[in-house]
Point group: C2
């Protein structure tokens, strides 16, 4: 097993996701049906808004983790499908609330739901989808699974609150950043993988898959955070700079500041303050993150978590599904190249 990822072409990376989707195509189709069916409501705004965000071109990464984890250790069932749909609804609900909290008008380069329907509808439809997720979880017939997802949801909220508080702490320690990432992103990846295994009726590999999911989530979010500064090579596009504009302290900034000169630190101090940030500061921030090697160092941190994720899979039986989970760990990191 290779622990360090082998950089692949963009096309090859795209094909990893497509290959995974093909691997669980029937399961994924069942989940898509559930998502469409359960986002419905007789109240007009709800299906419009929830349909917009649920079908807004997400890769269905979290439900795929659930489905493939289940296939890797047993067989998927209607319970697995309900669970995977619930995981996606919980994710969608947090996206809707995040966009309100982050004051961001774009999501994946498209207008955020709140930019179309407003903050109020986004809050309430988030609540609606979150409640629907628990209706779906009842269909797994497992109080254990339900409890795991409820706990993951409290952990996500705790992570978001910590992140909010951290906005004011410009000298955020790396450990605090990682704790936030583990809570706001790792917790749902962890629960998605673990409960996927549990939905097959066996708990045998659930703990290993929980470890896989948590570390995968960390790798995924850390890469997301470096991609928000253009990764290691990309030119600055319109999907770059959200975190910077929101003055979020992420790993590339933490490292760039730590390695920077006094002058650099003065820059970060001013630029990451919403009252003093200027339009042209983003370009200089990207420059410093590249020049100090912070982008590369951030990717290496993600690689370490991806390696831990893959390591956790060792105890699983060899199968195309285990291979797919390994590939997914590579995929999470390779997006940065």
């Amino acid at each position: 097993m290779t622990l360090a990822p082998r950089p692949r072409s963009k096309a090859a990376i795209g094909s990893i996701v497509e290959r995974m989707q093909a691997l669980v195509a029937d399961d994924l189709a069942a989940v898509e049906m559930l998502l469409a069916e359960r986002a419905a409501s007789p109240v007009a705004v709800i299906p419009d808004l929830s349909g917009y965000i649920v079908s807004a071109g997400g890769k269905r990464l979290r439900p795929m983790i659930t489905l493939i984890s289940a296939q890797a250790v047993g067989k998927t069932s209607r319970a697995t499908h309900a669970l995977a749909a619930a995981v996606e609804f919980i994710h969608t609900a947090t996206l809707l609330h995040d966009d309100v909290v982050d004051e961001s008008d774009l999501r994946r380069g498209k207008p955020a739901a709140k930019a179309i329907w407003g903050n109020k509808a986004s809050i309430l439809v988030g609540d609606f989808l979150f409640a629907r997720a628990f209706n779906l979880l009842v269909e797994t017939n497992s109080l254990d699974i339900l409890n795991r997802l409820a706990t993951a949801s409290t952990t996500i909220a705790e992570g978001e609150v910590r992140q909010l508080a951290a906005m004011k702490a410009r000298d955020l320690p790396t450990e605090d950043y990682l704790a936030i990432v583990e809570a706001k992103t790792g917790a749902l990846f962890e629960a998605a993988a673990e409960t996927g295994a549990m939905s097959t009726g066996s708990h045998e590999h659930a703990a290993a898959l929980a470890t896989y999911g948590k570390n995968l989530g960390l790798a995924f979010q850390i890469i997301d955070d470096v991609l928000d500064y253009g990764g290691t090579t990309t030119v600055i596009g319109k999907s770059v700079g959200d975190d910077f504009r929101e003055c979020k302290i992420t790993l590339p900034v933490i490292i760039a500041r730590r390695r920077g000169s006094d002058e650099d630190r003065t820059f970060w101090e001013r630029a990451l303050n919403p009252d003093t940030q200027a339009e042209q500061d983003l370009a200089h921030a990207v420059h410093l993150i590249r020049a100090t090697g912070a982008a590369e160092a951030t990717v290496q941190e993600a690689e370490a978590y991806a390696a831990l994720a893959k390591g956790a899979l060792r105890s699983l039986p060899q199968s195309v599904y285990r291979d797919a989970l390994e590939d997914l760990a590579d995929f999470c990191v390779e997006r940065a190249y």
Copy 2:
């Protein structure tokens, strides 16, 4: 059984709630312990904010309905306590999100949580408490109960979204108003009473208590809506006028406008538009609601629902708990006098 409530003094009304609290004192103490314990979090803002709202002097009406419903048909248990605490957390989460959606800075005459900690923290701590509610529901060991509360939560969100859409419809039909009230308030009262019964292990009286709870919720909210215009007698205080300032269309307004002159309707049209509402409009609105008899008519509508609530109790065995539920229906209406 008297269907029309007998107006009582304020002291007598206060003592109804105190008598109910005394009737289930031990159960209520167990619920309070759970509320304090489960609102805790290592993340600093969460216990501060959730403690503020959870202990902000609510009457614990909904958990009391759960506890007394259970006692009326069987015995309370740890499951009932977990359920009652979950019901209060769901209610608290919706309050936090409502205050953000309604843009109101006061809640029960005290600063709303969002006025102290901000909208963002209120959204996220609402999510946290909502997730914690589902952890508590797992402890009921009943997927049926869990499903009922998840469904009630979706219905509440649907009601809130309908209410949001109705702000723009100044000619809101009475039926639409009632549908909104049934969803946003009736659904949780209904589930609180029904699942209280279910938590005793018997479904025998669950349907009757569901009917009781739904109609009680309607009576309660309709009275709340007339109290927001000072009820039938109260002078205008600082807890009056929230709905008016938010341009919410409630029953007193619907009736006052229907019964009013063309001139009155012109007034309502202008005054219930956030762009044209003036400071002194509230006093005239209160005057019209009294002068047209809309306040009395609104109270009568609530009395009809309170009577339906009491009627639903007929099939229950006679006990001090059934009496308490009847008294509670009276209490809901008598607050208006």
